[in-house]
């Protein structure tokens, strides 16, 4: 410890601001339970083309986009709070439920007839996102090599999921790279490196 000395109580700084952060951390963990499955539901809703006629035309891509955004956000904070989630009995069961719900989603997608390349990419994308979340608990401190692998797999998984999201996305990096659609998502996720938060959360 930096300062291994006794401290008079009246010289201690106020603990309120630190406790505020504790409250936010707990709120994040509670939210992950709801945001992750809710986002998966949004992604599913976004695949239902008839809803576009029922609501409005951009509804499918908006729902899928919001769902994907929510899933990534929840998965990130689930990883950040992995120690708490693996310690707490309640959260462990929540996590098992999340994994099972995603597996059911994958099975449903496979059961849909006329499975095309896009749906296949989407299915594997979702599967790999789930696998990565589970691996995040199993490997809390990845080595440099593992981090590099996580980065590539996460980027591929995000691109797979994005293959089913309608809309236009283009990315250009200097003069040497231009990408569109799902590949653009791959480029963004790979180069912006969300897995850096895995290796260095602070």
């Amino acid at each position: 410890m930096a300062n291994d000395k006794p401290i008079p109580v009246d010289q201690l700084p106020p603990v309120v601001s630190a406790l505020s952060e504790v409250v936010v951390v707990e709120a994040r963990l509670r939210l992950v339970r709801w945001v992750f499955p809710g986002s998966l539901v949004l992604i599913i809703l976004g695949q239902l083309k008839p809803l576009a006629h029922h609501f409005f035309a951009p509804f499918p891509w908006m729902a899928s986009g919001l769902g994907l955004w929510g899933c990534i956000s929840a998965a990130h904070w689930a990883f950040e709070g992995r120690q708490s989630m693996t310690k707490s009995g309640k959260n462990k069961w929540v996590y098992i439920f999340l994994v099972v719900s995603v597996v059911v989603l994958i099975v449903v997608v496979f059961a849909v007839p006329n499975l095309d390349d896009k749906k296949l990419a989407y299915t594997f994308g979702v599967l790999f996102v789930v696998v990565l979340v589970v691996v995040a608990f199993a490997v809390p401190k990845p080595t440099d090599f593992q981090y590099a692998v996580f980065r590539i797999v996460l980027a591929l998984a995000a691109a797979g999921v994005a293959a089913m999201i309608p809309g236009i996305l283009e990315v250009s990096i200097s003069n040497w790279l231009r990408a569109g659609g799902a590949l653009a998502v791959f480029v963004i996720v790979f180069f912006k490196s969300p897995a850096a938060l895995v290796a260095n959360p602070k």
Partner: protein, 120 residues
């Protein structure tokens, strides 16, 4: 740099915890430490949950765990890190200058764990 991707849950967490934070600010004000019993009362959670949350905050570096000395032989109230439990401390080190040279044995039997803001 990836905060735009992870923003939704963070934003929701901060919005939903606003009222709880205000309640804690009113209850604790300028207090320098909190213990598991206070945390359990403030948040209406079980004592085990309260201890778990505070210990997790220590693991994540949000709080620091110290031990409050409650013996009657000290002129001032002070906290010590775990490394100083069951050792002697100089009272002059804890600003009890009138007790120059006097040592106090910080028995773990007369301390209880409290949680303080981390010191840099």
């Amino acid at each position: 740099m990836i905060s735009w991707l992870t923003w939704p849950v963070e934003w929701l967490a901060r919005i939903l915890s606003k009222r709880r934070k205000q309640k804690i600010e009113i209850a604790l004000q300028e207090a320098g430490f909190v213990d598991a019993k206070q945390w359990h009362t403030l948040n209406r959670i079980s004592k085990d949950e309260a201890s778990e949350q505070l210990e997790l905050a220590v693991t994540n570096g949000i709080l620091e765990k110290m031990f409050l000395y409650e013996g009657h032989d000290s002129p001032i109230t002070f906290v010590v890190p775990e490394t100083l439990l069951d050792t002697h401390v100089l009272l002059s080190e804890i600003d009890a200058f009138s007790e120059e040279g006097r040592k106090l044995f910080v028995s773990s039997n007369f301390t209880r764990p409290v949680y303080v803001a981390p010191r840099s």
